[in-house]
């Protein structure tokens, strides 16, 4: 009496007719993982995958924790000390870190802890907004291009390529002079030139996914384009999009801080991490921490974002090569 369920039937049939090279020794680990996944009942949702990424990847956890600490400092830092970020205390200028001034003071007596955390706040907000705008635009355009193909794809790709030929730093400097003072405008300007990355990735994702059977099935059931995109394909792309978000945010903060450093971005009275480095330039010998601390904040933020991005990427595509 053959007593098989459909899945068991498929399993034996599959292995008889189309043996995937699971005998490959270099794929032993992959075989184990894919078999486990095949045999489990449902495919994992984004949430579970993301959680798995973070739990198994120590670097990603460290990154997330560090970023969280910095965010908390950015929010609460300026309130933690009794000085305002503009308050000058000329008598106490050029001091190194101390109990009173945790990060020391700059050359006109302003408390650097407050200024640095305030600068971090500005930088984080600008990068965050920039990344949200850039990735949103990129996702929409990439999805449209990848799903509808042909003419839509042709024109969107043409525009994308056009934007890619514009020299990034040069054009940002040009725009920064005019729009830099307003943080929101600055976000828009930066986003305007970095959306192309997300668009490319989403486009290739959608190009691939649109060919798959579940899309044809949805079409056969009468679903229209927009619905298919949002309810069917997009959930599958969340992984790479999340990874791209972290990378875009990292790029955004590099660009913002570079512009601010050159005084073509955030300008006084506001401050950002890049501007702080520029201000402290001259103090390098007398008080290197004034230059190094804001810079290390930037490095820490970007490192954390990169670690998190890598962790996410590992979770969604375990066959990706960076086995760190």
């Amino acid at each position: 009496m053959t007593d098989t369920t459909d899945s068991e039937l498929t399993n034996t049939r599959e292995s008889a007719d189309h043996p995937a090279p699971v005998d490959e020794p270099s794929a032993a680990e992959l075989e184990v993982e894919s078999l486990e996944r095949q045999l489990s009942e449902k495919s994992e949702s984004f949430g579970r995958q993301a959680t798995r990424a973070f739990v198994t990847n120590r670097l990603a956890i460290i990154g997330a924790v560090v970023l969280l600490i910095i965010i908390l400092l950015a929010i609460f830092g300026p309130m933690m000390r009794p000085y305002s970020f503009e308050e000058r205390n000329v008598l106490e200028r050029n001091q190194g870190p101390s109990m009173d001034h945790w990060f020391g003071t700059d050359n006109i007596g302003r408390d650097l802890f407050v200024r640095t955390t305030r600068g971090a706040r500005t930088s984080l907000v600008i990068s965050g907004v920039t990344a949200i705008i850039a990735v949103s635009v990129g996702v929409v355009l990439g999805a449209l291009a990848g799903y509808f193909g042909k003419f839509v794809d042709g024109s969107i790709s043409f525009v994308t390529n056009l934007f890619l030929t514009i020299p990034l730093y040069a054009i940002l400097l040009v725009f920064g002079k005019k729009f830099g003072a307003d943080p929101l405008a600055l976000s828009f300007v930066i986003a305007l030139f970095i959306w192309t990355r997300a668009a490319r990735i989403v486009r290739s994702q959608f190009l691939a996914l649109s060919q798959q059977e579940f899309v044809q099935a949805a079409r056969a059931a009468g679903a229209r384009g927009g619905r298919i995109i949002f309810r069917h394909i997009l959930p599958h792309s969340v992984g790479p999009i999340a990874v791209e978000f972290t990378l875009t945010a990292g790029l955004a903060i590099i660009l913002e801080s570079t512009l601010s450093f050159l005084e073509l971005g955030v300008v006084a009275p506001e401050t950002s991490l890049g501007a702080l480095v520029a201000e402290a330039k001259g103090q390098f010998t007398s008080q290197p921490s004034a230059v190094l601390l804001p810079g290390m904040f930037i490095v820490a933020i970007i490192l954390s974002l990169n670690f998190m991005g890598d962790g996410l990427r590992d979770a969604f595509d375990p066959q990706a090569n960076s086995r760190n």
């Binding site: 390529n161 056009l162 934007f163 030929t165 514009i166 725009f175 490095v299 970007i302």
Partner: protein
Amino acid sequence: MLTFAIRRILLAIPVILGATMICYVAVALSTNPLAEIALCSNCGEQARQVIIDRYDLDQSIPQRYIGWLSDALQGDLGEATSQGERPVSEILPERIVNTLYLAVPAFFLTAGTALLLAVWSALRQYKFDDYAITTFSYLGLAMPTFFFGIVLQQFWGIWVPENWGIKPFNVQGMSTESLGEYLRYATLPIMTLAIISIAGESRFGRAAMLDLKNSDFIRTARAKGAKESVVVRRHLIRNAMIPIATIWALDAAALMGGAVITESIFSWPGLGRMLITGITSQDLDMVMAVVVVLSILTVVFNLIADLAYGWLDPRIRYD
């Protein structure tokens, strides 16, 4: 191969034109040569009119673009207000050459080092070397160019002379009098440009090679009895060069753009410095020239990347 190349080259031309168009619009929208006049209290209407005439500010942007384009194609790129009205077409080549003095050595340094590091860490995966190199890559990628540059500049320019009494590197300006002088001025900016690119490229190269390491054809090469060194050279590296060469071409374009910041920090009189000076003094002609040059270079390098890809990978030559 030839048709592939010609087709790609022909396609690049409209892209270059489109790019110049966007650049012109961007520059036109963000610069205001009249701003200076607004601050000047005893400049009359006549001064305003001079500027308006000079830059055709009473015309629409598309008209101005056409005007600029026709002038440019005849070799007239305007005059640099911040450089005593010298013709831009005179200043431009000088500045390009100066930037090349930085960019070219930086490129070779980057390409060579990154390739070495990538091969090394891919072959010694999971061992200490690999982790060390990977850590370095991560740090390099997370470091903004200006931060690295400023730290280098302040350290070697001020801290070392003050504390150790020597000054091996100069941190402002440029010299080409002799190789030694050149190196004294150029080493730090070149390192600034290179280190961050090395971090990115070696990471990419390592990933590309790890991807290939487990390929079937690598196994076939070993199955033939080939020596390991041959497998690495003829099969692993040769195939990894396909993505790596394209990254080199793309990075070369990025290098020219990134020089902007480095030149600013080290006061190196190249294209980047020209841009910044132009922006701060609202020198429209200079700014436009630099942006267009960089844009054309980007297109050219992308084209080179495409062609290199076709040359190295026989599979895509015949599309």
